[in-house]
Symmetry: C2
Subunit: 338 residues, 2 copies
Amino acid sequence: MNPTVQAITATTGSAQRRAIAKAITLLESTRADHRAQADELLTALLPHTGRSLRLGISGVPGVGKSTFIETLGVYLIERGHRVAVLAIDPSSTVSGGSILGDKTRMERLSSLEQAYIRPSPSSGTLGGVAEKTREAMLVCEAAGYDVVLVETVGVGQSETAVSGMTDMFVLLQLPNAGDDLQAIKKGVMELADLVVINKADIEPAAAIRAQAQIKSALRLLGQQGNPEHMRHDAQQWHPDVIRISGLKGEGLDEFWSCVTRFRDLQTANGKLAARRQQQARAWMGALIDSGLKAAFHQHPAVRASLAAVTEQVTRGLLPPSTAARQLLAAAGFAATAM
Amino acid sequence: MNPTVQAITATTGSAQRRAIAKAITLLESTRADHRAQADELLTALLPHTGRSLRLGISGVPGVGKSTFIETLGVYLIERGHRVAVLAIDPSSTVSGGSILGDKTRMERLSSLEQAYIRPSPSSGTLGGVAEKTREAMLVCEAAGYDVVLVETVGVGQSETAVSGMTDMFVLLQLPNAGDDLQAIKKGVMELADLVVINKADIEPAAAIRAQAQIKSALRLLGQQGNPEHMRHDAQQWHPDVIRISGLKGEGLDEFWSCVTRFRDLQTANGKLAARRQQQARAWMGALIDSGLKAAFHQHPAVRASLAAVTEQVTRGLLPPSTAARQLLAAAGFAATAM
C-alpha cells in the first residue's frame, strides 16, 4: 500500500494530520508530475471515502458562518464526531485574507484534536478552487472524519459549487427584511435543504417574522417550481426553516436533529446515493468542459488570431457564428453541425 | 453582389419576402455546404444590419404574449414601422405546436404587408434555436424591418437567450400574486428593462397591487444587487412597471413611449452600442463552447470509452478528476493544469 494512503487511513494523531496535509498539498499542486501522483493517490483513497455526512454551509458575509461552524464543530466533537472544515472562497487568491481569518475566528475548534480545518485553496478560478476542495473532502473522509463542513463565501456561484458537492445544503439567513429576496433572486434559496435564521437572539421578533416570510416564500417557490428543477419530493421533504443563535449555541439540538432526519430519509429512499452519483458525473463533466476551453485557448492558432477575430466581431465586420467556426477549424476541431 | 443579398436589401414586396424566406431556410439547414453559403451570405448582409430596434418579449404561457405582440405589431405598422416577429421556443421541436399556433393567433398581423412573422426554428437544442433566431434577425434587419420582436416561451433558459440578443428586454406579468416571485426566482426579473402587467382590464385592482409589489421588489433587488450583475445604472434607468391590456390595446402609447425613451437614452450614453458588442462576443463564445463539446463527444476515443468511464465514476471506482483527464488525453486535448 502507498505509504501516504496507509498513513491517512490507518494512523491517528499527528502522523495522520501530517499525511493529510501532505496529500492536500499534492492535490493543490499544478505541476504535471504532482498531478499524476495525486490522481493515483485519489484513486487509492476512493474505497475509503463516502462515509461522512457532507454538509454545505452558505450565507452572505456577516451572517455569522464562522461562528456558527465553530460552535457546531465543538458541539459535534463533544458528541463523539470528528469534524473537518473546508472552504470555497474564490476571492482568497486576491485578498489572502480568509486564511488568516479562518484561523483567528475558529481558534477554539482548531485547538481540538478531533477537528481538521483547511482554508480555501487559492488556485484562482472558482472551478479550480472547487475541484481542490472536493478532493480535500475525499482525503478527510478517508481519514475518518465523519462530518465534513464545506463553507462558502457569499459571492454568487460558489453556492452552486458547494451544493454540488454536499449531501445537504444549509443556507444561513439574517433576520433582515429583504435577505430572503436576495437569496431567492440569486437562486440560492432554491438550493437549500434547510434554512437557518442566525442571530435570532439579537432580534428575536424580526427572526420570527423572517421565519414566517421564508416559509411562505418556500411554499410559493415549491408550488410554482419547474418540476425538473425541484430537488425535493413534496411528499418527502419540505425545507425546514429554524431559528438559532450561533454565538450562544442556541438551537443546535434542533439543527442537528433536522440534519440527521434529512440524512436518514435520503439514505432510506436512495436519494443520497443518487445525489452523490449525479454529483460525481456532473463534476467530471465540468472538468471536461474547462479542459476543452483551456485546450482551445492554448492552441497556437487560437492564440495567434483570437484577439483579431474578436475585434472584427466587436466591430460588426464578421458574424459571431462565422468567427466561431473559423476559430474552431483553425484549432483543428472537426466542423460539426451546430 | 450576391443575388440573394441584392433581393433582400434592395427589393420590396413578394420578391423580398421570398428572398428572406430562402435566406432563413439556408441558415437553418444543417448541411455543411449550406452552412458555408450561409456564412458567406451573413457576412455580406452584415453592413446592412444593426438599424432596427430589437425588442425581447417574455412571460409565462398564458400571459398573453401573442395577443400583445399582434396588437403592438399592428399599432407600430399604423405608425409607419415595418415589424418582424421571431420566436425562440426550444420545445417546438417536440410539440410542433407553436408553428400552427403562431399563424392562427397572429392572423391580423400576418395579413399585413409590413409585417414578417417567422415561427421558432425547430433545430433541437436551445443554443441551436437561439443561433438561428439571431441570424434570422440579421436578415430581417438587412431587409429594412426597423422593429424586430423576439418572443420567448416561458421555459427558463430561453429568456436569457432572448435578453442576450435584444436591445431591450420586456417582461410580461400577470396581475397574480406570486407571478413576480416566480420571475425573481428564475432570474428573469433581473433581466427586465421594462415590466408590463398585462390583462389589467380583467383584474384592475389586482394589477395595481401587482404594480406596487413589483416596483418594490425591483427597488430591493436593485439596492442589494451585486454591482457586477446590474444591467442598469441607478442614475440612468429604473425599470418601469406599467399596466396594459394587450387584448383591448390599452396602454400601448405608454408602452411605446417607455421603449423609445429607453432606446434614446441608451443610444445617447453609448450603452446600446456596448451592449450589442458584448452580445456579439458572448454569442461567439457560446458557439465556441458548444463546438468544443461537440468535437469532444464525436471523437472516436471518447465515443468508445465515455460510457464505461462514466459508469466507473458513478460506481465510485474512479475519481471524476482523473476520469476527465483520461478522457481529454484520449481525445488528443493537451493536458493542462486545471
